[in-house]
């Protein structure tokens, strides 16, 4: 494998399962060519312009925001991948199937509520959900967990209460709307979901007899962390681009119409990729918007955003990530409007 082959050719992710040898070779050659081109392009740009532009105000702000998102999320990602590696290597295979209700339709809400025990933001939940599926948890239940965990854990709810002082209805609405969205998405998966949207997860089988558990943990962790870390950086770059390119003074233009403002803030949550522990403060600062629109911001944000889509694409495959994120956004917006209308 040549060095140039490996330079940032994300689109050329390994084609799945048993392509013929010639296909394999063609893909490799193509990705190698793309890698060479990308490297040559970057080198040419740097040679022509020097590194001074990297310190221009806009570029420096972009780099700062990008690095901030990455640095903020890395510990949580580490926690998530260590947990997922540990679940994979050390937890007995039948534990989850014993704890969760046997019927998937019942397992979904239980798994959704179990999300309350994973403290942290959304980056940790993706690898954990991935390892749950590998351990035989029904995907619907794992997805309910994936969606609810970053939104309803005590840290995030406390932050929400602090950000909206004297407004406990907002905390209750967020908890309820997030739980309902997670459960609905789990049931939706049971109803419409297709296994072949998920990337085959052959690489982890959990602990196998005769193999060192620590070795399995180490290799599983390293794989998950490096993969998820790469996608995290990709997502952070996308989010930083929107963060820097769209000045927040644009926001006020959308605060007039109630419908537009809900959709706009939901879209903003996707683009900004603010950590779920902080999004309540951002929502609180969007004073021009209706409480329902701000609720939508806080319900959509932890479930769908650019870095999450990138992380999910890495863990579960692109076919899944796009469908799942779209459906989740729609369900989350509808749920927020209904619950926000009733409670706020």
């Amino acid at each position: 494998m040549y060095k140039a082959d490996e330079v940032v050719a994300v689109a050329e992710e390994t084609t799945l399962l048993a392509p013929s040898c010639s296909q394999e070779r063609r893909t490799t050659v193509r990705s190698r060519a793309i890698g060479v081109l990308a490297a040559a392009g970057i080198a040419a740009v740097l040679a022509l312009t020097g590194v001074g532009w990297l310190n221009g105000p806009a570029v420096a702000a972009w780099r700062t925001v990008c690095l901030a998102i990455t640095v903020q999320a890395l510990p949580f990602l580490l926690l998530g991948t260590v947990l997922s590696g540990a679940i994979n290597a050390f937890v007995p295979a039948d534990l989850f199937t014993r704890v969760l209700p046997r019927r998937p339709a019942l397992a979904v809400p239980v798994a959704g509520m179990a999300g309350a025990i994973l403290p942290g933001c959304e980056c940790a939940s993706v690898p954990v959900a991935g390892s749950l599926i590998r351990r035989g948890v029904t995907p619907a239940a794992a997805f309910a967990f994936l969606l609810s965990a970053p939104a309803i854990n005590p840290i995030v709810l406390t932050a929400t209460a602090v950000a909206f002082p004297g407004n406990p209805a907002m905390v209750a609405a967020r908890l309820l709307a997030s739980l309902v969205t997670a459960a609905v998405m789990g049931w939706l998966w049971l109803w419409l979901g297709r296994e072949d949207w998920l990337r085959p997860t052959a690489r982890h089988t959990g602990h196998r007899p005769g193999h060192s558990r620590w070795q399995e943990f180490r290799l599983g962790f390293r794989h998950d962390f490096l993969q998820a870390g790469g996608f995290l950086v990709l997502g952070a770059m996308a989010a930083a681009t929107f963060n820097v390119a769209v000045p927040s003074s644009v926001l006020d233009a959308f605060s007039g119409s109630p419908w537009m403002s809900v959709l706009f803030l939901a879209g903003l949550a996707v683009l900004l990729a603010v950590c779920s522990e902080a999004d309540a403060f951002v929502a609180a600062s969007l004073t021009g918007f209706s409480p329902t629109a701000r609720l939508a911001f806080m319900v959509v944000g932890p479930m769908v955003d650019l870095k999450l889509i990138a992380l999910q694409a890495g863990t579960f495959g692109r076919a899944f990530a796009l469908r799942f994120s779209t459906a989740t956004t729609a369900v989350a917006v509808i749920t927020s409007v209904l619950i926000g209308g009733a409670l706020l």
Binding site: H211, R222, G230, S249
Partner: protein, 260 residues
Amino acid sequence: MKRHIQAVLLVLTGLGLLHAALFTDLCLRYVKEGQRPVLIASGALLVLLGLAGAILDRTAPEDDGHAHFNVPHADGHDHSAVPDAHDHDHSAVPRVAWLLFLPALSLLFFAPPALGAYTASRANNQAVKKGQHFDPLPATTPLPMTLSDFTARVQQDRGQAVRGRSIRMTGFVTPAEKGGGWYLTRIIFTCCAADSQSVKVRMYGTPAAPANTWLAVTGTWHPGGTLGTRTAPAALDVHRTDRIAPPVNAYTDDLPLTPS
């Protein structure tokens, strides 16, 4: 991605975090002080896991590793050619992992500065908390105040306690878009620099220093509207400015500004 590069990447990422959080104050440009212990722990863990991995990889036989362990092949591609072979493709780390080198190297060698005037000039003014209770102001002159406190006093304090008082505030210079005026600004965030908000107070009476210059400004409230209501501008007639060193943690709106 080859196994030794994976180990190097883990170690570099860990070193980057340690460099930013333990050996320097770099991390304060991006996240809150409270994140520091978590970052140090993560950095140390990554370095340990990377080093342990590098050592264990050397002892584990590479070629027939899958006969004993879940040891990866050097080339991540060959698994797909033999799909019936059991799952030993941990090394099939997608190329996207190379992107992790960017933050690691950036933290180590080329860390971007804290957010400044560029961001502040494009941000909305931060909403100042409503319904605050105002205690009588201390008698000190000049009276040190934060930008947020000053804004709240001017626009909400019916007692008009700031009228006629000489006030001292610190922040960095953000030029106004038009008219050549400038603002004294602070950027604050709650979690990381991605959710930053800015507090601005308009300055009158002195020409603007270059953008991002840190200043301590002394002056009195710039009259306009009715003091203590929303009509009053958060603005200051400047009597005196002093350059100060940029604070280590620029993202606060706190009184004692102690560069260390």
